[in-house]
Subunit: 236 residues, 2 copies
C-alpha cells in the first residue's frame, strides 16, 4: 500500500489529509460550499498547491463520493451481517439494512445529499463511482435472493406482474448481480429499494416537516410495509 519512496508516502498522506478536511468542510458547508482555497488554508498551504493532488474541484468531489458510497455500503454490510448472525428473519435483516442507511444518512447528511441528492451542476460522475455505488444494493438483493431460495417470500397476492417491456432490464439486473429470484420479485425489490431512499431523502431534505414527527417509528413502519411489498413475512 504505502509507496516506496518518501515522496510517494507523503503524497498519499497529503491526499488523505485533503480529503479528510474536505469531508469536514462538506459536513459544515455542504457540497456547493466546498472550497479548495479553504481546504488549502486549513492545511497551511497555498491554494494552487492543492491542484498538484486534485486536478480540479470535481476530482476532489469524485473522491468524496466514492468514499461516501463505500462508507454507506460498509455500514449496510455490517448491519446485515450482525442481523444475520443474530438469527433475524429475513424481514428483520431487511429492516436492519434500512435502518443502517437511515442512520448513516442522519449522521452524514451532507455526504448523503452528495450521493443521493441533486447532482452537483456541471459535475458528471465518472464511471469509477459505479462499483462503490452498488455495494448497498448488492447486500439488499442478497437478502431477497436468500429469502427466495429459502422459499420465505410469499407471493403477496394480487400484485401485478412485471410487463414484458421490463424483461430485458430485469434479466440484465439478474445476470449482473447475480440473482436467481424471478423477475417479478426483482421488480418489487427495486420498488422497495427506491422507497427506502425516497423516505430517507424526504426526512433529510425536510419534506416531513410539520407532517411526521416520530421519524424513527414512521420509518420502521414504512420499511415494514415496503418489506411486505417485497414478500417478507413480518413477525408481528
Amino acid at each position: 500500500m504505502s509507496g516506496r519512496t518518501a515522496r510517494e508516502r507523503v503524497r498519499a498522506e497529503l491526499v488523505r489529509e485533503i480529503t479528510g478536511i474536505a469531508r469536514e468542510q462538506l459536513a459544515t458547508a455542504g457540497a456547493a460550499g466546498l472550497s479548495l482555497r479553504a481546504v488549502a488554508r486549513e492545511m497551511g498551504m497555498v491554494s494552487s498547491a492543492i491542484y498538484r493532488y486534485f486536478p480540479s474541484r470535481d476530482d476532489l468531489l469524485t473522491a468524496l463520493i466514492i468514499d461516501g458510497y463505500n462508507a454507506v455500503g460498509e455500514a449496510v454490510e455490517r448491519a446485515e451481517e450482525t442481523a444475520r448472525k443474530e438469527g433475524e428473519p429475513f424481514a428483520g435483516r431487511w429492516l436492519a439494512v434500512c435502518r443502517a442507511v437511515r442512520e448513516w444518512a442522519l449522521a452524514h447528511p451532507h455526504e448523503y445529499a452528495l450521493l443521493y441528492g441533486s447532482p452537483v451542476p456541471g459535475y458528471e460522475a465518472p464511471q469509477d463511482t459505479v462499483p462503490a455505488a452498488l455495494r448497498d444494493t448488492v447486500v439488499f438483493v442478497r437478502i431477497v435472493e436468500e429469502a427466495h431460495a429459502a422459499d420465505a417470500l410469499d407471493p403477496a397476492g394480487p400484485c401485478p406482474p412485471a410487463p414484458p417491456l421490463l424483461a430485458g432490464d430485469l434479466a440484465r439486473a439478474r445476470a449482473a448481480l447475480p440473482v436467481n429470484a424471478p423477475e417479478d420479485v426483482i421488480a418489487r425489490a427495486f420498488t422497495a429499494w427506491a422507497g427506502l431512499y425516497g423516505t430517507v431523502s424526504f426526512e433529510l431534505f425536510g419534506q416531513f416537516t410539520n407532517v411526521i414527527e416520530e421519524r424513527a417509528a414512521y420509518f420502521d413502519h414504512s420499511m415494514a410495509l415496503l418489506g411486505r411489498l417485497v414478500g417478507f413475512r413480518n413477525a408481528p
Copy 2:
C-alpha cells in the same frame, strides 16, 4: 391584481421578468449556478439594481421554489381531474398523478432538484413555501380518501398495522388534510407517496444508470405496485 400606480405596475412586471430569466438560468445551470449578475446582464441591467427587487439571492430562490411547487401541484391537479372525468378507476387516477409528477420532473429537472433534491446549503426555506408544497399531496390524499369512502380499498391482507407511536402524527395529518380514512391507510399512502418521489429522484439523479433503461415502463409498474400497497385494485 395590477397595482394602482404606474410604478407598481412596472415593478411587478420587472419582478416577473427577473423570475422568468432566473428560471431559464436554473434550467441550464442548476440552482447553485443561478447568478444574480447573469440575470441582470440578460436584462441589460446592472447587477446592483436586481437587489431593489430581491433583497438577496435566497429571496429569489424562494420565489422560484414557490413557483415550482405550484407548477407541479397544478400539473398534478390537472392530471387527476382529466383522469377522473375520463372515468378512470382509483388505481388509474393514482397512476395518472404519479405520471404527472414524473413528467413534470423530466421536463423541469433542475426545478425538481430545487424542490425535492438536496437543500441549497445555507438556505432555509421560509414558511411561505409550505402551502404550495402541499398541493400535490392534497390531490393524492383526496384520491385515497374517495377510494376509501367508496369502499374500493381492499385491506391488502397481512400488512402490519401502524404502531401506536404514530397515532399522534397520523391523527394530526388526518385532521389537517382533512381525511376520514383510517390511520393504517394514511400510513400506507405516505409510504407510497415517498416511494413515488424516491423513484422519480432515482431516475432523475442518475441512480438508475446502467440498471433500468425502460424508464417509463419501470415507473408505471413500480407505481402500480405502490398503488397495490395503498390498496387500489389494479385492473389487469
